[in-house]
Symmetry: C2
Subunit: 417 residues, 2 copies
Amino acid sequence: MKQSQLFTKTRKEAPSDEVAKNAELLIRGGYIHKEMAGVYAYLPLGLRVQNKIKEIVREEMDAIGGQELIMTALQRKELWEKTKRWSDDAVDVWFKTELKAGGEVGLAWSHEEPIADIMKGYISSFRDLPIFVYQFQTKLRNELRAKSGIVRGREFVMKDMYSFCLGEADHTKFYNETIEAYMRVYERLGIGDDTFVTFASGGAFTKFSHEFQTIAETGEDVIYINRGKKIAINKEVLNDETLQSLGVTRADLEEVKTAEVGNIFNFGTQKSEDLGLYYTSEKGEKIPVWIGSYGIGITRVMGLLAEKFSDEKGIIWPANVAPFRVHLISLVGANGGDVKKEADNLYETLTGKGIEVLYDERDLRPGEKFADSDLIGIPTRVVISEKTLAVGKLEVKDRKTGKVEMLSESDLLSKLA
Amino acid sequence: MKQSQLFTKTRKEAPSDEVAKNAELLIRGGYIHKEMAGVYAYLPLGLRVQNKIKEIVREEMDAIGGQELIMTALQRKELWEKTKRWSDDAVDVWFKTELKAGGEVGLAWSHEEPIADIMKGYISSFRDLPIFVYQFQTKLRNELRAKSGIVRGREFVMKDMYSFCLGEADHTKFYNETIEAYMRVYERLGIGDDTFVTFASGGAFTKFSHEFQTIAETGEDVIYINRGKKIAINKEVLNDETLQSLGVTRADLEEVKTAEVGNIFNFGTQKSEDLGLYYTSEKGEKIPVWIGSYGIGITRVMGLLAEKFSDEKGIIWPANVAPFRVHLISLVGANGGDVKKEADNLYETLTGKGIEVLYDERDLRPGEKFADSDLIGIPTRVVISEKTLAVGKLEVKDRKTGKVEMLSESDLLSKLA
C-alpha cells in the first residue's frame, strides 16, 4: 500500500487522557482510535494486525478440530437465569438493555450459556461427541475502570472456544491438546519463550486450572516461574503442597510480573445439568455433556505485543503480526526521477511476490519519514535514495536490532524469503 | 470438510415461531440458530456463506479505493447529540445502556457520526482528501417487530462505507463509482439481472437518492421498472416529472415486489458542520467536508439469496457464495471398500486442487443423504456408488437445473474449473 493513500497519520502525542502505554503507542502510530475509555476503533493498520493475530489463532484452532461459528451479542435473560449468571450480583460486568417490544436483554460478555443451548439442538447421542467450536467475537464488559488501553477494554475481540465431550477422559485429552495449540499460537506471536502455562486454583471439577501468562513489565499479575523447567505457579496456589507436587522449592522460583494472554476452564457437567444438555450413552443412559471453555483475548494480545515489543521510538512488531512486512521509503532528492522509478519498481517487484509493503512515497523530509517508520514498527525498512542508487544497493534496516545493511535486490529477496 | 465432522445436522422442521422463509430454510439446513426474534447465530455453514459475501464486497470496495477499518459498538451520547440523532424521537431503533462508571451509552445502529469524528483527527488540508473507508460491523437496531428472519434483524452484519470529499463534484464522481461497484457485487452474487438502481426521493442535497432493489417474491417494497432500459423508480417519486426526466411513460413500467439490498446517501456538508469537520482549501478557506454513506446488509443479502434461490427441497446457492463448491456423497453398499476408497481419493484430489468439498461419508440411507444435499444447496453434487464404479464414471448433478451427467474425473475437473 502506498502511504500517501493511507488516511491515518502518526502523531507526536497521544490524547492527554490516555494512560496506557499500549494505547499511547497504537494511537500515535495510527493503529487505533479511542472512542471512550476502554473502547477503541481499529483503523486500517490496526485492523491488519488484529486480522493477522486472528488468522494465527484460527489456523491453530482448526488444526485441533475446531469449527468456527459466530454467536450473538444480544442475550436472553431466561437462558442466563438458568445458570444463575444473569444477576448483577453474580456477574458484575453485564451491560443490559430493553427491547422496544418489551423485555430485558443482555449484551454478551461470554458465551458458555448460548453455545450450550445451541448444542441442545445437535447433541443427542454419544455418536455426536466430541464437538469443538470457536468464534471471534466482540465482547462487551461493563468494567468499572478501563485504564489499560486495549489490554483490558469494555469492548474487545476474543477468541472463545468451547469443547463438548463424553466425559472427563475425553475432556482432558482435548484440554491438553488445547494447551499445546495455545503454546503454538504464542510461539508464532513471538512470545513463546516468555509465556508460561501457569497453575492456578481449580474449580469444583479440578485441583488446578491453567492460565497462560506472559512476562510483561506493565502486567497486572505476579507469578512464580522456573525458566529452566518451564514451571509457573500463580499466587493463589503458591504453597508447600503445590511446590512438592511440581518437584520444586520456593528458592527455585523467580517472581515476575505478567499479563494473562489466555485461559482455559473445565466446567465439568455443571452447566449441562443447569441447561439440560444431555446425551444418550451406548448403554442408553442419559449423561450430562462435559464442557470446557478456552479464551484468547485477541485485542488484549495485540496491546501486549505493542507494549512488550517497543522502544522509545515506537513499536517493534514481530514479523508474523506486523501490518506489513517491509516499509519501503523513497527519498527523492534533486535526482528525483531515478529514485522514484527505482522505488516504484521495487514496490511492484515485492508486492508481485506476495510480500506486503507499505511504500512511503510521500514528499516529506527524511527525518519525518524515518520517525514515522520507527513509530509504526514494520520489521524491515528499505530505503532508496540518491546515495543508495550511487552504490547500486538498497539500505536495509532491521527495526528490532537496528542493524543496517547495504543489500542487492536479490539479497533482500533472500532475506525476506 | 467431512460431513461427519460437521456438528450441525439438517432438520425437517424449523422452530414453530419462525415465520420467515429465509430463516426457515437456513435453520433447517443448519446454517443459523435463532437466539431470539431478529437475532441469529451463524453456524459453520452459515459463517462460510457470510464470509464469501463479505469477501466479494471487500474486493469491490478495495477496488474503488476503500480502506477497511472497524469501529465500535458502544457509542457516546455527546457525539450523537451534536447531530440531533441521540433522542429516541429522532432515531427509534437505539438500544441504550448505562456504564457502571456512570453515564448513558448507545449501541451502534449506524456509524456516520463516529467516523466523521475520527476523521477530525486526520483531515485538515485539501491534500488529505478524498478518503473512502468501510467496515463490516454488527449493527444493533431495536426494531419493534422482527419477523423477517435475517432479512431485517435486530442484530445483523452490515458493510458500511463512508466517503469524505472536497465538494460536490468529487462526491458525485465517487458516488457514481460506488453505484458501479455495487452492481458488480450484485452481479457476482448472482442477482445482477434482477437488481435495479432505483430512483428514490432525495434529501436536502439532491433531487434523487438511489436504492438498490432486487426482485423478490417476499420483498417488502414495490418499485416500477423497465427491464429493457434498466430503469427503476420507487413509489415516492413515481410522478409525471420523474417519468419525463427519465424519458419513460407509466405504461412502459412494470410493478414488481422487491427487497432493498443496498443504499447510498449523500449527506452533503450537514454532518461536517454539526460535528466540526472542516478542511483548509488551497486558498486558505475553511470548508466543511462533503460526506456520503453507502450500505450493504451482508446478512440481509444472505437471507434474500436463500429465499430467492430455493425450491421445495431447499436452498440453491449461487456458486460464488455456496459454503462449498461440491457436495461429494459416497453410497457405501456391500462392496463398501471400493466405494469408500474411490470417494476418499476424489475428496483428496478435489481439495488438493483448492476446490471446497463437503464430503458426506456418513453411514446413512441414500435418500437421507440426497435430501440433506438438496436442503443444504451446494451447486454440484457428485455421487460415488457401486453403480458409478461399475461404469467407471461419476454421477454429477446440478442443484439448480437438476441435470444429471455421468462424467469422468477429468470431465468433472474441467466442469469445475
